[in-house]
Amino acid sequence: MTKVHKHEKKKHLEGRPGQTAPALAFPTVLFLFFGIGIPLALTVVYSFLDRAKVGMGVTWTFNPKAYKSLFVIENLDGTTGFDTRYVKVLWNSFVYSGVTTVATVILSIPIAMWIATREENKRNILLAAVTLPFWISILIRTYGLRQIIDDNGPIGWIMHKLGNEGFHIIYTPTATMIGLIYVFLPFMILPIYSSAERFDFRLAEAAYDLGAKRWTVLRRIVLPSIRPGIIAGIALVFIPALGSFLQSDMLGGGKTNMIANVIALNFGQARNWPFGCALAVLLIVLTLIFVKLIQWAGKKTTGEQVSLI
């Protein structure tokens, strides 16, 4: 019997004694139905309603007005025109998240490779150093970064000393992107590291022996081997960056930089829940499309199903 188990361990997990009944999961599923399922469904429903005449909430008249106002502006004189404001917000969100993803990949490859090639003791300390930020509030990390890139902060001071009087970066899109890169960098380093750790350095040696230069080895041998890690990292960075709120709020200055900021605005001062919900639905759809793309890319490079859960 044991022999069978050794051979078909995975398969036999199903028949392990003491396996509990699926019914045990029922309370969790029921709880999440109310905690996650209904709120998501309500977001979709609300996006097709009208805003409340007074105060917060909605009035129950179904119409696609909220979606229409994403692209169409109604002028005071009754004429309509193409509204570029929210298209711009969408575009910003994509660009900021895209730049963040590319920058984190470039910054992560050297450090991931470097950590993977240290001795075990040193490697564990370095890994802990990269993991530690996960345990620190994003709010505090973003605040810390704001103090660094503030006009009166150390970067500003250095720039001033170097004679760059007009240096100003805080409350600009650049600051938002630096904030996103800073916050999401560990999410890219760790998956790339776990790919790099498995990399067989004899392959690189073989490439050297065959006369490849460093750059060629890096590009042709190392990079393809760590591609699964890069793809996982892209999923872990781009998706949360697309829906991020704090960095554009605290560092970008303007209140309507990215999708999440406009959602927040419509649930706050603007009090237009249907419009906020329409943006939320749009964000969900974009996220799901991107998840599918990542899964497709993952399958293509590794031949395996990529699970994001």
Binding site: W114, V291, I309
Partner: protein, 280 residues
């Protein structure tokens, strides 16, 4: 021989040993420097927060002289204490509920094939994929529709929902790694299903349950966005309070609270590390 020829000869002689040295590909040029630069980038802002928490100035970005006055002010700030208590109440509640529900889900879903439980996994995994702000405003809409007031009860429910996947990650991983032997031994010795659960499965899972709970606690206590939308006037959590402080005039008090929170995270992490070491 001309100078160039000497140089060329020296170079040709040099090439061979240099190439040998190159075989140690483990070191790419500039990677070491780039790595230290990245680590510096990751820690500089935190270092700045810690140093500037000892600043006597009224403006957080301008250094005046060393002082602990902002720590004293923090300890005497009743709002901060209230916010801290709220944060802990919600985080402890969310940790307990989400860990229990995660254990139940892990046990119940282990036998089911993934395809057979798509809806369950979609609900569990949703907070990992969908932007937090979407779930936060959806929950706000739900609470308003059924008349649940904004406050700690609703916040604990919402925190529990997004903490479940985090609590589940280590538990599910551990459950997949467990060897069949102890289960078979227990069954051979005549243990029934519930005895195996209590005496074999749960004890074997306990380290994973503890890490899951720790993860859930960390996620809940640091949460800003959900709390921001669902907190009422008397249920402000510490992150929401700090956010408010950052939005108005920023004094080094923000740095002082942040440093205390960094210290707290450090203590929790080190003690969990030490506990783990000792168990082994």
């Amino acid at each position: 021989m001309t100078d160039t020829a000497v140089a060329t000869a020296a170079e040709t002689q040099w090439v061979a040993p240099k190439r040998r040295r190159l075989v140690n590909l483990r070191n790419f040029p500039t990677f070491t420097f780039a790595s230290w630069a990245v680590l510096f980038f990751l820690y500089l802002p935190l270092l700045h927060v810690v140093i500037y928490s000892f600043n006597s100035s009224r403006i957080a970005t301008i250094w005046e002289s060393p002082s602990v006055k902002w720590y004293i002010k923090t300890f005497h700030n009743d709002d901060i204490q209230r916010a801290l208590i709220n944060s802990f109440q919600i985080a402890i509640g969310a940790t307990i509920f989400s860990t229990v529900l995660a254990v139940l889900a892990a046990l119940g879903l282990q036998r089911m094939k993934r395809a057979g439980s798509t809806v369950a996994w979609a609900l569990i995994g949703a907070p990992l994929i969908i932007a937090e702000i979407v779930l936060a405003v959806g929950t706000l809409g739900f609470f308003m529709a059924v008349g649940i007031p904004l406050g700690k009860v609703g916040m604990t429910v919402a925190h529990t929902a997004f903490c479940i996947p985090f609590a589940l990650i280590p538990i599910r991983a551990r459950l997949g790694q467990l060897d069949n032997a102890p289960f078979e031994a227990a069954a051979d010795l005549g243990a029934n299903e519930s005895q195996i659960l209590r005496r074999v499965t749960l004890p074997l899972l306990s380290p994973a349950i503890i890490s899951g709970a720790l993860l859930a606690f960390a996620i809940s206590i640091d949460d800003f966005i959900t709390s921001f939308f669902l907190s009422g006037p008397s249920s402000t959590t510490l992150p929401v309070y700090i956010f408010g402080m950052i939005r108005s005039t920023v004094t080094p008090e923000v740095d002082a609270i942040s440093t205390l929170l960094l210290l707290f995270s450090g203590i929790v992490l080190i003690s969990s590390y030490v506990l783990n070491r000792r168990r082994r």
